[in-house]
Subunit: 313 residues, 2 copies
């Protein structure tokens, strides 16, 4: 394992891909890999890209790759798809476009998706970002399909969160209300060649005035991703935010929070495994029958199992 | 607590509301409440209503309430909103319409939503359904906002799952592909006065032919919920499925699976609480500093905490 990780750390693309796959598939080597990876992390700027479906996240990420490459950056992309049964494969077309970068050795694009286990997906995404960081990527984009709380949790992994809005979606105000306002560091009104984009910009500004933020005031930018309009300004804003983090208490706090979450998620997963095993070992047909017959109840059963698991509860 | 639960079991609406709130807010009385509730459960038919946003789930549920009331049924509704930041309050308007039933003592409508904790939401929803079951509801609808895997997990709590599709959404086939096909017991093509509804019906039928199912062949029905068209047929289908479950191995298996999930979720939550406490107790500034300085890594830290928590790992 050490040899493979060494090759990945040296930038060998297939080795990077292999270790990400191992971590994603919860290989028993995950712990060993991550322990070798962690000491080399902390150099990359991780940027989360989120927004409603149809906001143009993939196209924008695609153009951002170009812009960051022009800045001499080595770029990684993690495209997160929690396999939502209602959005399904609809996003793939945009992402295929992004693949044109994949012949470039300085750009690494990776899709992540684990059906069912959202906690697991956040953990795998974080670890994939750590791997790309350790293996020499300067900028790592985490792009989510962008529906729901779970994706918000995933973009929280990022240093900088970029929220993409579009005119005419009607739900912009809804987005504001729902708490994403507090986590976005850069706002982008994409498709700004469409009617109503000024209204969206104005709405975001008004909402930003109402929300308390720290020493960083999130800028509100306009882009037309398909025509690459507004991209240099967006790239600059994102780099500015990265610089802000590296020099401020906020940046340190984000790092602390992230590493705390990582420890908690490892704990949760290990414990879940152990619990499942304990339950399986104790889940006899007789016990199930008495549950069905309501002679006992799930709380009583769980209580007995907990007594077996813990030293002192 | 026993007095309050007794009143709820007798059908006293405010007491029912109070104990659901206690369970939902993870009150320390949850276990005591649920232990008193479980022996009285097992009589209700729990029906999950799911589908894409805009499919008309709330309107359809609203009409189903009418139809089941006409059958002399005492009806409960649990409207699940995982507070998705991207769908936000958009659904509320439809749900407000449903509130017209709330003056009826034989209809109880309840919204559930816990930001962040999807596992917790599934557990609270299940327990609320159990409470309504024990307190005399004959039919309980669980309606989800309907985006993503998490909602699918929530509808799995139901005895019967009803999937609502609409013409012209374009994503119908996507839905099929994504695994919901296997869990739906009744398919409804709503807004069947719109162009293209026959195509959706045909597509569902074709997909159903390809999917293996047991002794129940899911019917594909058409409705125009706003005009109450097709509702008696849908009501009948749902009752037929309820009858099928009560007489078949499939019904027993569903019950077993559900009670197993319930035990697992209680275990998960209790263990998560205990872990969180242990982590908080051990999460010293020195430890965080050495994590930040990469002198140690999250896996090593988690490993040490696990050693403290478990008897033998």
């Amino acid at each position: 394992m050490q040899g493979l990780v060494q090759k990945a750390l040296g930038g060998h693309i297939r080795s990077i891909a292999r270790i990400i796959t191992m971590v994603e598939s919860e290989s028993p080597y995950t712990e060993e890999i991550m322990k070798l990876i962690y000491p080399h992390t902390g150099n990359a700027h991780i940027i989360g890209i989120t927004g409603s479906p149809g906001a143009g996240k993939s196209t924008l990420t695609d153009k951002l790759i170009d812009n960051f490459k022009q800045q001499g950056k080595n770029v990684g992309v993690i495209a997160v798809d929690p396999s939502s049964p209602f959005t399904g494969g609809a996003i793939l077309a945009d992402r295929i476009r992004m693949q044109r970068h994949s012949v470039d050795p300085n750009v690494y694009i990776r899709s992540m998706g684990t059906r069912g286990s959202l906690g697991g997906l956040a953990k795998s995404t974080y670890e994939a970002a750590m791997i790309l960081d350790a293996c020499g990527k300067d900028v790592i984009f985490i792009e989510t399909v962008g529906v729901g709380q779970s994706e918000i949790d995933i973009v929280k992994i990022a240093d900088s969160v970029c929220l993409i809005l579009v005119p005419g979606m009607g739900d912009d105000i809804q987005i504001m209300k729902a708490g994403i306002m507090e986590i976005a560091d850069v706002f982008v009104v994409n498709k700004a060649d469409r009617d109503g984009f000024e209204r969206v910009v104005a709405e975001v500004r008004i909402m930003l005035d109402l929300v308390k933020h720290g020493n960083w005031t999130p800028p509100v930018l306009t882009t037309v991703a398909e025509k690459a309009k507004g991209l240099p300004e967006l790239t600059q804003s994102l780099m500015d935010h990265g610089k802000f983090l590296s020099e401020s208490r906020e940046g340190l706090d984000k790092k602390l929070k992230r590493i705390t979450i990582e420890v908690e998620e490892i704990l949760q997963r290990e414990i879940a495994r152990f619990t499942e095993r304990t339950w399986k070992e104790n889940c006899t047909p007789e016990l199930l029958d008495s549950l069905l017959a309501k002679k006992t109840d799930p709380y009583t059963v769980a209580g007995k199992i907990l007594e077996m698991v813990f030293v002192n509860n």
